[in-house]
């Protein structure tokens, strides 16, 4: 028993629980946004579990492949794979088991849902991690597409088809990803330079990166607001969404005109809270 607990403690950081949790919340919100006539808890829980496995699996595979990068970055060198507490083979097996289980479960629940979940995993692991991350700073677009898949998958699972609203919600997440990732790559600029990973700050400079963040924040906030309106969210929820969006926009604009490390860090943290808040509002408004 003790060995299992020790292993779980080692494995847990491989899943990047906060990031996985945030993406999972988008998937659940996508499902709830479909406003199914009858709420099936076993569908809801099954979808949650399959998404968790698929997202965590792709994250573990990402961490397995990037272990050499993690080892040279100050921020990540203590990770279990980077410092040798978990062997690469063990992590690879775990990542594959999670991914196969997650996608397999998703396909069994609904072929369309399974296909989108597989698409997310494919974009994240193959296109983003294996192919583009070490080649171009634009890889984040493909990472963003992968990030938008859980919400699209959740909605497709609820409605039974891919619709414009699902795509709009996925687009909102895609636009949100630069706010999240680029603030992060500015904060750990030196780390990424040491690892020779091309990022927006290293390729285009900080000012262009800040402007990109501001534009993507505006687009993300508008996309979510339009999606919320089209979903028929009550005015109260829309008001709160507008307030939270206002905070995001103000911080994004402040980061362009009064750039400081504090504002940048604030924007990074706030953008996560914003996405979680927006997803909670979409979920609650559907209840």
């Amino acid at each position: 028993m003790k060995t299992i607990i020790v292993k779980l403690r080692l494995y847990w950081p491989l899943t990047k629980s906060l990031q996985t949790g945030l993406l999972l919340s988008t998937g659940l919100a996508g499902y709830m946004s479909a406003r199914c006539p009858v709420m099936h808890w076993y569908d809801f829980l099954g979808m949650g579990l399959s998404l968790f496995l698929a997202i965590a699996g792709s994250t573990i595979l990402n961490m397995w492949y990037d272990r050499d990068i993690d080892a040279v970055m100050n921020r990540t060198h203590h990770r279990p794979l980077a410092n040798g507490r978990i062997t690469p083979g063990e992590a690879l097996r775990l990542g594959l088991v999670f991914s196969v289980l997650g996608v397999g479960m998703a396909v069994a629940m609904s072929p369309l849902y399974g296909l989108i979940v597989f698409g997310g995993l494919f974009f994240d692991v193959v296109v983003y991690t294996l192919w583009l991350k070490r080649r171009t700073s634009w890889s984040i677009v493909w990472g963003g597409i992968a990030g938008g898949m859980p919400i699209l998958a959740g909605r497709a699972f609820g409605t039974g088809h891919i619709d414009g609203l699902g795509l709009l919600l996925a687009l909102a997440v895609l636009f949100w990803i630069p706010t999240h990732i680029l603030t992060f790559s500015m904060r750990y600029h030196e780390d990424y330079l040491a690892a020779e990973i091309p990022t927006f700050p290293s390729t285009y400079g900080f000012q262009v990166t800040r402007k990109t963040i501001a534009v993507s924040s505006i687009l993300a906030a508008f996309s979510i607001a339009i999606a919320g309106f089209l979903l028929g969210m009550e005015w109260g929820f829309l008001r709160l969404l507008a307030v939270l969006s206002g905070g995001l926009l103000i911080l994004a604009v402040a980061s362009v005109f009064r750039p400081t490390e504090r504002v940048n860090f604030g924007l990074f943290k706030y953008s996560s809270m914003y996405m979680l808040g927006a997803m909670l509002l979409i979920t609650l408004s559907a209840l």
């Binding site: 109260g236 929820f237 709160l240 507008a242 307030v243 206002g246 905070g247 604030g266 706030y270």
Partner: protein, 188 residues
């Protein structure tokens, strides 16, 4: 505090026209976003010069909502005061001015808005033209005014309480303020 402010924004106040609804949403919205930023960045964010400008939005918007709702004859006048007062604070805090004008403008705008938030609900509750619980809005106004005064004197280098004490009581004060506003407005 953030949850309480979010609750108020979602539920709103029944039967309101659009101006007071927008005003209350802005007021509670600033409280909410400020609370989130305090959580994310810590109390050092209070040292930023922009705090003076942002913190003006709360009393101005809440008092505008109250005036619009309960003092119909003063609506336009107070709307003009709100806009001009805010612009005056933005101007006097953005341009370096050596005399006491910035302090005077700040004290006038905050003073008038604060007195409206404090007195109007209390007077209405005493007169019986609203529920007694509406006076809690006045209590909320007094509490946030107290917080503002403590921070202002601290910034001016003449602290009433030590910085550590102020920062210790501030979260509780903000929570009580928001709760008093929410309960008070629900009684309106």
């Amino acid at each position: 505090m953030c949850f309480v402010a979010s609750y108020q924004i979602i539920t709103g106040v029944e039967g309101l026209a659009s101006i007071p609804m927008i005003a209350y949403t802005v007021g509670f919205g600033v409280l909410l976003v400020s609370g989130l930023l305090l959580i994310i960045l810590g109390f050092e964010v209070l040292d930023s010069p922009i705090v003076v400008i942002v913190s003006t939005i709360i009393p101005l918007s809440l008092s505008l909502g109250l005036v619009w709702e309960h003092l119909a004859a003063f609506r336009t006048l107070y709307l003009v005061f709100t806009i001009l007062g805010f612009l005056a604070i933005v101007f006097t805090r953005s341009v370096p001015i050596k005399n006491k004008l910035p302090v005077l403008v700040l004290a006038s705008v905050h003073g008038i808005a604060g007195m409206i938030i404090f007195l109007l609900p209390v007077i209405m509750a005493i007169r019986g033209s609203s529920q007694p619980a509406f006076s809690l809005v006045g209590l909320g106004g007094a509490l946030i005014g107290l917080g503002g005064l403590l921070l202002s004197f601290l910034k001016a280098g003449k602290p009433i309480l030590s910085r550590i004490t102020i920062l210790k009581i501030l979260p509780g004060l903000l929570l009580l303020t928001t709760a008093a506003f929410v309960v008070g407005f629900s009684a309106a």
